[in-house]
Symmetry: C2
Amino acid sequence: MGFDRLIDAIVRTQNPTVAGLDPKLDFVPASIKNDCFHTYGKTLEGAAAALLSFNKAIIDQICDIVPAVKPQAAYYEMYGWQGVKALAETISYAQEKGMFVITDGKRNDIGTTMEAYATAHLGVTDVAGEPLSAFGADALTVNGYLGTDGIKPLLNICAAQDKGIFVLVKTSNPSSGELQDKKLSDGATVYEQMGRMCEGWGEESRGKYGYSAVGAVVGATYPEQLAEMRAKAPHTFFLVPGYGAQGGGAQDAKNAFDENGLGAIINSSRGIMCAWKKQGLTEEDFAVAARNEAIRMREDILSTITIR
Amino acid sequence: MGFDRLIDAIVRTQNPTVAGLDPKLDFVPASIKNDCFHTYGKTLEGAAAALLSFNKAIIDQICDIVPAVKPQAAYYEMYGWQGVKALAETISYAQEKGMFVITDGKRNDIGTTMEAYATAHLGVTDVAGEPLSAFGADALTVNGYLGTDGIKPLLNICAAQDKGIFVLVKTSNPSSGELQDKKLSDGATVYEQMGRMCEGWGEESRGKYGYSAVGAVVGATYPEQLAEMRAKAPHTFFLVPGYGAQGGGAQDAKNAFDENGLGAIINSSRGIMCAWKKQGLTEEDFAVAARNEAIRMREDILSTITIR
């Protein structure tokens, strides 16, 4: 119910962070790539095999200390259906290792089409009576620009399968304000209106921690808005991008949490995947470096909050 | 340049319509499904094979009279990477038959991530020096909620590869107004602001018909807003959903066109795919029925406009 499964894992690991798995081929060590190209050629299949191998090594290193991973769909789609297959295999592998998986797909559509996305990424597909899992993540990021028609179909599947969604509210990028910061005639900003809609959509799905299955994406790069939205959307769990490479620090991210140190999970993607560069290690040590960085990040975040 | 390739095809076929390929397995005749399940079992692979076979039959029947198809990504993702493979194969097949392909993915993200989506769906993926096409459609629908950071990476690829995008402006669904109709403090609506942004993003890519490579999605179910946006976004080509099953008629869709009968393409998905039901034919005749409906729809639209 709500994001209880994720929050339980955060409390257990004492770690409110998620590792983004956005594996550009450039991030993958030459030895892995060479092995895969040797087997499959310089093909989409070869690239996909390299991504999967890279992801598995990182998951192996962090699964006992980090509660969740967030694969970004774009970096898999870039390698065609072969890459998308690697996404499905990454999701399964992380779940086998006990991790909560958030597919970052920012999907959005209406009615039966949104139902199809919900089924694809969170639900179970019916093939002539056979229930089959297509991607089967634990949560999905979505875009709420289309309103309730685009969110309702997700809520049914979240309730039936104990899954969650994160709606884009105030994104971490420099131009996010072009639309999101615009003031509406009632004085609220567009992102504030989107936050209100999240609170409404989540009313029926609040779990034991008080957070619903309808979370929100709010960036660490806008710490004031993060604090504002924490106060205004008290039942909405936050997925917070923008820590690390994008410029947000622990003092910024702190504003995402409630008085119990809950209510949010902070993402790091490049910081984790490319950690070897900052640690003076070789690329072959990327997975150990990722673990070191995950530990450092956890300590950094926990220096500003206490999880109760 | 701009949407010249698409508009040339519209002028040549005298047909400003696009067939949506949103193949739910329920739409596929039993004979096709049985063949595929016989070969692949009741699996995602079997379902995907059935979708592809269904799509090819429709494309074969309409490719000489309809300029474009619009596969909806959700209905392929629902069947896992196997379904996504069928999407890639559908795109290639339609292009081989001379059709312009719009992938309806409503993708959105920022910076390098949006670059990855742009590469995936419109561009060419580099795998260790090998240029490979992942999906390679001619245009992609996108969501502009994230602002310029989410659109810029697409513009480069549109320019380099002569491709286009359609940004969601005023969508056809009942709840689209929850956010999109909200008035901003300057008196404009959110959708109007999005339309302005489209005009801005498209400034550098106007083609010979005056339309840029940055199109907009504006629904036929809101004919007044369609007329308003046609006037306010004179360089923005419209993809118009909502005709037929969603309730919009030719008189509504008419508002999307300029004085030359150009400036828009009207979509029909279920109307085309499930046409046999309305024509008193059997499901085995779905492809012929789709052609009949495509001809009827063209005549219906052309009863209200003249393409010059």
